[in-house]
Subunit: 364 residues, 2 copies
């Protein structure tokens, strides 16, 4: 079964297709396109494919410094303003494709086929790119959505526990951010690892249609869409403090648990909110616990002082205050700004301690 | 006297201010902004100015490869998502500023103050950037208009004949492209070199308000706005064939004369159109003749075979046909596509010969 819906953007609307057999559909629809494909997926392309660039999905390959190489391949393949590009891969491939299509001859059209659950559940719509330069991770980026997004269920079975659970954490984050009804409906779908195709499609469909609401009312990340950074500032510090040994999606999940601890410890929640936030925290923790054997192996040691320092340097903060997204009052997400004082840093440290204990972080 | 109008863009509207004393106004409005300024204009900044990067306006400095250096300076000046950038300079400074503000932290707001007549009369609105990479001129670019454009008349008196006449050629091109009434009104303003401030303001105001019409109905260069490439394909080959010794605006003027010759020689014009196109051709030729002493000195030798080869490789053509913008029928500009045959190439060569003779090109 295939389903589709449209996302409205300032540059026009684009179609999102979810289902089986979509890879073949893209090949037959775009035989003359220029393909950018994750090097790991070489074998999915038909033999003697015309115009294709395989890129290893590494942080180094999504630097501004490497973009001229990609542009050169596009020029050598004689792409002009009416040419089409197809990108197949995870977030890094999406970042590269978004960026190069947005600037090649002032923009060409493209199609994206995400192959990771993070890509499928979240990043594939909204049009964001994140590019590194001169050692600064994600300092550069822009908004340039594809003309169509095709999510083929075949890729689900290639994903390990880390990837699936990480993707589901972005999905539940979106649903929680929207409202209580959406969050409850998501839980009733019973997300778990391993996913079968029909469950995956149901979860993805709900997450993406919910995300559609956020990006259509706030395409350029000024207001409501900022709430989708829930879990990201606390989580990003875990990634950065461990040299990115903790996968992004897992870090976001743990980041949500820590943000909830912060809200609890500082009395931001009323009785109803406490119940709602606790339900999310429990869900995240049970997902992690369920696959603990898979996850534990890769969990690195944490240095809490270093983690809080990374938190301190996050670019989402203001000059003089920390910007955090926490559940407040009845449980709805809210952006709060807290002065950068030693007192607040201690509160943040305490939330990290408590949250990491709760996810039974093995080396802490 | 100052005047202002707004330009509507998909990312919001922006204000265009034309008048005297605007440099001081920008300084007082944006004391904390990050300034990118043409290295030639160092002396216009107040002493001990806080946060400023001087850039030499060279083709090499508007390469994708050089962008990380500019981004680094912005990062070192602690720019965040709410910071403002001010760019003061000509087209190259505008290209660099458009590009870096569009990608720094996914986009920050900026103000542009053009200091050349090309910038003031044409490029300052519409939001286009053109960036070089790996030896390909303008292969890269995007659309990212500033939040405001301030055109200070003080810069008019710093410009030489080449710069003024080149800028006026872009202005008359815009007015001719719109309709006959706008073209006639432009001529009645009696454009000439040297310009005084009040004449300059009148001409600029008319050209920019006319260009506003084109970019508001076709922001991303798909239909009507393409007509503003009139003179550019014929002209660009003159620039490229002489290693850019002929200034862009002058090349556009000569390019329009050549496009008109092509239309005449191939019977694209009726009696009325012939009269209208001839009036434009005469105007361009008289502007060039008027300042011939200034212009001649820098005119390089031309190799017609090489020029037509450059024309052949222009990126605005289709795969199998030349795309030209010429006056047709009653004189209105029209895009025509002509198969890439030897016969068409001969017609193009003939138009070049005739057009270059008409502008009394000294070395031809």
């Amino acid at each position: 079964m295939q389903e589709s819906f449209d996302v409205l953007a300032s540059s026009g609307s684009y179609q999102v297709l979810i289902g089986e057999g979509l890879l073949e559909k893209v090949f037959s629809e775009y035989p003359d396109a220029f393909y950018i494909v994750d090097a790991k997926l070489k074998n999915i392309l038909p033999e003697n494919f015309k115009s294709c660039l395989f890129i290893e999905a590494s942080e180094d390959n999504k630097t501004l410094e490497k973009m001229p190489n990609v542009i050169l391949k596009m020029r050598e393949a004689h792409l002009n303003r009416t040419s089409h590009l197809v990108a197949i891969g995870g977030g890094i491939i999406q970042d590269i494709a978004t960026f190069v299509t947005s600037i090649y001859m002032r923009g060409i059209e493209w199609t994206y086929m995400p192959t990771t659950l993070l890509g499928m559940a979240d990043s594939c719509i909204g049009g964001k790119s994140s590019i590194n330069t001169l050692g600064y991770k994600n300092l550069i980026g822009n908004f340039y959505p594809p003309k169509s997004v095709s999510i083929d269920m075949r890729f689900i079975k290639t994903l390990d526990a880390d990837q699936v659970i990480g993707g589901l954490f972005e999905a539940v984050k979106i649903c929680y951010a929207k409202d209580n009804a959406t969050f409850l409906a998501y839980l009733q779908d019973e997300p778990k690892f391993p996913l079968n195709a029909s469950l995956a499609q149901r979860l993805l469909s709900r997450a993406l249609k919910t995300k559609k609401w956020f990006i259509e009312i706030d395409e350029f990340d000024q207001n409501e869409r900022l709430l989708l950074n829930f879990g990201h500032t606390f989580g990003h510090a875990l990634e950065a403090g461990t040299d990115f040994a903790i996968a992004h999606g897992i870090a976001v999940g743990i980041g949500m648990v820590i943000a909830i601890e912060y809200a609890k410890q500082n009395n931001h929640l009323n009785q109803e909110g406490l119940g709602r936030a606790q339900m999310l925290s429990n869900h995240v923790r049970s997902m992690i616990a369920e696959s603990l054997s898979e996850l534990v192996a890769n969990f690195p040691k944490l240095d809490l002082v270093q983690i809080v320092e990374k938190f301190d340097h996050d670019k989402k903060h203001q000059t003089n205050s920390y910007r955090m997204i926490i559940p407040k009052e009845g449980g709805a997400l809210t952006i709060i700004n807290q002065d950068k004082t030693e007192e607040v840093r201690q509160k943040i440290t305490k939330a990290y301690q408590s949250g990491l204990n709760l996810v039974a972080y093995p080396h802490f």
